[in-house]
Amino acid sequence: MKSLRCSLAALTLAGATHSALAADTLDIVVPFAAGGATDIVARSFEPVFSQHMGVTSVVRNVASASATVGTAEVAGSEGNPNIIEYAPAGSLSIQPSLKELSYGPDSFTYICRTVSNPMFLMVSKSSDIESFQQLVEQSQEYPFLYGSSGPGTLPHLAMAALVVNSDLKAEHVPYSGSGPAMNALAGNEIQIMADTETILENYDLRPLAVFAEQRVKGYENVPAIDELGLPALDFAVWQGVVAPKGISEERAAQYADACKATVESERFRTFAEKAKAGIAYLGPNDFEAFVKRRFEANKQVLQDAGLTQ
């Protein structure tokens, strides 16, 4: 019995050491399963980042469908200087408006944005549709179906926004990831999909437009959405680093410097090029403003598309 009491006491102590002191180890939460698109980038980011921080870091995958569980854990660790999240766009800028969550855009100390890839509007190469105009015309008789990697994901939102803002008639069919959606597109179960350059290059797809404010390098003949006579729609898949609220200013500055150095490092750049992740660094203040702007814009889309009240 005594040994039990001792070990309980030791456990409580171990629990209590999780204080405001910066330790030698850093917990990097990735809210997706190991091997996923976000995880790969995070795992290439981690070694350089921890070197610059002078700590040993551990990537911890806290997987859940829409990445909210891992994000909520970081938001809930207020004041803990030894935990950060490598966060995807969805859990920061979409999920809080879609679900009742324990966090919102104000629950974090923003460190940096690392990468960002604009999304393209795509159809299968085997279809005869060559332009957005044609797509709209053909959809009038019989509405098209567009796929997404799940409800409330960026591919879903981008298409929902497009349908609301144009004459395109299309309905949503969610899949459990980009892969199954691509399978459905190949089998003509769905006809349209919005996703990033990686998807566009890996499959037989034809881009019709890009969800960005101007044309994208490498795809100069793909028009931006606002050139099609529509309001500008800006949708990109981005990732960034956030820490919990309540950490000291020096710690936040230390994180920010390490992040900047990592993104500029040769090693991370080479990787990003291979994985087709477009490096798009934003510092703490710009990143915070960016997330809040995206949060409001996405909220509006969700409302317009009737996905929330």
Partner: protein
Amino acid sequence: MDVILAAAGDAFTWQALLAIVIGTWAGIVIGGLPGLGSVVGLTIFLPFTFGLDVITSMALLIGVYCGSVYGGSITAILINTPGTPQSAATTFDGYPMTQQGRVDEALGWATFASFFGGVLSCVLLIFCAPQLAKFAVNFGSIEVFALVCLAMLCIVGISRGSLLKGLLCGMMGFFFSMVGSDPITGADRFTFGTQALSSGLDLIPVVVGAFALSEIFVRFSARDEEATVIPEARLRFPPLGEIGRRLIELMRGSFIGSFVGALPGTGAAAAAFISYATAQKLSPRRAQLGKGEPDGIIASESSNNAVTGSAFIPTLALGIPGDVVTAMMMGAMVIHGITPGVRLMADQAQTVYALFVVLIIVNVVMLILSKPSIGLFRYLFKLPLGFVMAGIVMFSFIGAASVRGNPLDLVVAALTGILAYALRRGGYPLAPLVIGMVLGPALESSLRRGLLISRGDFLSFFTHSGIATTLFVLIGLFLVWTLWSSFMQWRAKLARRRQTSTRVIE
């Protein structure tokens, strides 16, 4: 030909061979430990691959993957606890054989069937990948719905004794799979307003609870009985004549596994259940299934290992990962600068062929390592029963916690264990619960997606395509067959009773 030789050269480097041996060995052990399965194994080894070259890292991961799918069968046979969900169907006949003292034979069949399925699917992958991938693309949501319905029917077959109890457990598993986010609207359901439940119940904690923990409770509640002694694990390969006699079973299981593996979003556990259900209808020894018949082990093990090869078909031919495991391998490829996609076969032929060679070597190595691995488990299980059980509990919880890093999964595993113990004491079969849990998400999302595609018209499912119609007709035939045979049984029983009663009157 030059490409193939060059690829073989890539695969036969000492680094790659070492990676294969280490990966396969580790995979078998990880797969054999309840709770630790393919995904956990790959998560452990993924970080190591960052420093290796492409072929070596793929060799390591493929070894872990194939080894773990095979390893699950060892504990399924020895202690009625599948090491991975993929081997759940192996317990149906594997454990009865153990109870009859035929451990060596059961392990021999499991090993040989795994090898056979693995190699056959490699051959299919090498020669028919583009064709199979093209065919798999025709499997849209409606076709998958029909296929899953067909697989669900195997609940009928394995709930011997009481169909009602089997169906109840199946419904329970199906319900467990519905907790969490709605696949179509994304809204939370059955979460009681808690964020922890919003990611749903994972398969691994439920399987760990239902099989491993409940088995331990059962053994402890009956610890003085003869049945709780774990028999000494030995391996005896089936003689050639026997293999020839059951060749059809091996082929059928391997083809079903290869085919199901090529469909995105199904996986090895579903393949094993589908294959077992087919064996129940087509095996010449079907009357013995479930009572310790090698055909049952063959159906399960040949199909789940066939998935390991064919899961690469959509990944390599289309860049579409078939399940979580291949998604992780695709991730590893991307890290090394290979982006799987429609052009992979053309652009990176040498790498792709090297992967084929690696897959075949892995299966051969698996066959060679099976004996020492089973020997290892023999030593482990020679320890006092209490230690073995404690070890299983520990690994079960480690496995449950490490899949998603969600502490709730530990609670889920413990509660499922208690529930499963109660169910077993009440004579409820647990396999339907796992089948419901495995097939539930596929059934629900394919049905609802199908309804979106057909604009809410369910009747058009039956005429959607040739494949769908064929599958629905098969389901109809199966139902008619089952009803008809139970009707005939009932009549025979009635006639017998009438005979005896008239005899009494006379």
